[in-house]
Symmetry: C2
Subunit: 342 residues, 2 copies
DNA sequence: CTGTTAGCGCGTTCAT
DNA sequence: ATGAACGCGCTAACAG
């Protein structure tokens, strides 16, 4: 593998001259340019970015630490991050934590050693350790999707509380009074906020909040399936179900099918997160849709700005609105509200 | 940001001693270990992997160059790659080419400069330039999913021809005689092979191959939608449709719905690629399922082996079988074959 | 068991 | 317009 010195020798110049020509910096004659470029081409010279980074303290690489790329929500975020990073010549290292504290810390630690220029992090818990570690090394972080109580930081996330509030208000408007919620991990802010929105909607309408109707689990199909089964088995059956994210919704729908029930005839279902239009032939579920692409884009742009101007310290909290998309998964109950079934 | 020298000074030893302690290499006293570890902790020392890589010529990083992470097939491959890489301490840089030659070349070039240890590449076309570039720098590549005619290389892919053959034979067995195929780009080996399998199945059964029934497009929902529309508009309508991948299938199903037709009553549909069970409540489509996770895992293991033993030159061509999964999207025609509709 | 020297490949600084 | 010297942070090779 040719080095800058090999090119220099072949071109009959000093290494620094090769550097100048190839980076188009400083002065050099047209003749020199020709000779250097010829030599570089002949030797198939590929500059060593490691050496360059060692001097410049820049790797043009971002770390994207998320829970599971397999969830289409994160897939889309990842795509947005990669697109946005690429516009400024940055690459993206992908890391799946599976919501495990240990993996998260491991990735952060390794990528700090590799001197990535910045982190996009979906924190596994409220433990600030990974963020503190990153900060101590003077590396910018943007927290993605989840807020951490009391942490001063750049955060880009969705309006979980409001989205949930909107969904539940919609159900109440349809006449539903007994609504169960199947949420994610109790320790994760998005799950907490979605339950908070659920509570607020009920309370605002003067309805009681039944703790038995609030279930925490994890953001997986399995968890959605299990918890929905539990809800369906114990009578009385709620008239509506609120799934805390897309995977939970899919698991819940499987359980509902298995129980021989129909949506929306036997039970109404709403969910957080839409599935990308590329993945569904006939969208059916009423959802509070987030914009994962927008989330990824804005977070990456913010991070790139922090990298470019490391001094700014006015933390940004960007909260993206959700959109209520009414489809065919909810039924109006007799004596219910005035809204149609969409 | 502390360097090894800072740690050395604080511990009252030479930098190399710090290196030895922290890498647990060579000899040092227990007392020295204590002092070094204390100093490192106090200074929050994070070794600079760039410097280390500059010497060792290893970055412990792989490049994953695929077409679009947004397709659940590639999402799953990416997940497998990341999982497998992580077991050996490697990170993964993600790149989306969108089937564009230019982006592909750009990524390869940048990542060669960054000295990734190996490439997993889904070639955009039969152009060998990117692979040649990588090889010239002595970096191992594993070609993913698509084969290139005449190229000696490690390739891990699925049995597209056989899978298509199986699907079409199944349809013929159900009594279908007029089957349209909507495939991917004519320049891409998987699309070619799937059409080849289609042809072989027909020919083997003594059925004519009607060139009008073979359409190439791209592996996208839009393309599937457009081409299906074209097929449905011009009578006579085929009795069955073969979608070249998951996205094409979804687009085709949308077009079928829009045309007011029912699957399988009005038209039977089969497809290459299954959707992950996490994404569908009620799997319905009969498919030739590939194993994207297995694909990613085997490719990564092969690549890691090449990195570990760079000399071996017996190119491996790993072809993973597809699985015919019969569901409810196909109807037996009158006077048709002896197989049920599954 | 510990330290000195030197060099990985490049680009900044200063000189010519 | 070109080059020499030096250092980025780390570790192999070689003392001692």
């Amino acid at each position: 593998m040719a080095t800058i010195r090999d090119v220099a020798e072949r071109a009959g110049v000093a290494p620094i001259t090769v550097s100048r020509v190839l980076n188009n910096s400083g002065y050099f004659s047209e003749e020199t340019r020709r000779r250097v470029e010829k030599a570089a081409a002949e030797l198939q010279y590929v500059p060593n970015q490691l050496a360059r980074s060692l001097r410049s303290n820049r790797t043009d690489t971002l770390a994207l630490v998320l829970t599971d790329i397999t969830n289409p929500f994160w897939t889309t975020v990842a795509r947005a991050v990669e697109d946005t990073a690429a516009t400024q010549g940055f690459n993206v290292v992908l890391c799946n934590t599976d919501e495990q504290e240990e993996k998260q810390l491991q990735y952060v630690s390794v990528l700090l050693r590799k001197r990535v220029d910045g982190f996009l992090l979906v924190p596994v818990s409220h433990n600030v350790e990974p963020i503190t570690m990153i900060r101590q090394q003077g590396v910018p972080v943007v927290v993605l999707d989840r807020d951490m109580p009391g942490l001063e930081a750049d955060v880009v996330r969705c309006a979980s509380e409001q989205g949930a509030h909107e969904l539940i208000s919609y159900l109440i408007g349809l006449g539903h009074r007994d609504i169960a919620v199947i949420s994610g991990p109790e320790t994760v802010s998005t799950a907490q906020e979605r339950v908070a929105g659920y509570r607020r909607a009920l309370t605002e309408q003067g309805l009681p909040v039944n703790p038995d109707r609030i279930l925490f689990g994890s953001y997986t199909v399995e968890s959605g399936y299990e918890l929905a089964r539990r809800v369906l088995q114990r009578p009385p059956r709620p008239t509506a179900l609120f799934a805390g994210n897309n995977f939970i919704a899919i698991g819940a729908l499987k359980a509902i099918r298995e129980a021989g029930l129909q949506v929306p005839q036997d039970i109404s279902v709403v969910s957080f997160d839409d599935l990308p239009p590329t993945l569904v032939v006939d969208p059916f579920l009423t959802v509070a849709a987030q914009s994962p692409y927008e989330l990824g884009r804005q977070a990456t742009e913010l991070l790139l700005r922090r990298i470019a101007e490391p001094d700014s310290c006015d933390w940004q909290k960007i909260v993206l609105p959700t959109e209520l998309i009414v489809r065919r998964s909810c039924r109006a109950l007799e004596g219910g509200g005035d809204k149609g079934i969409g």
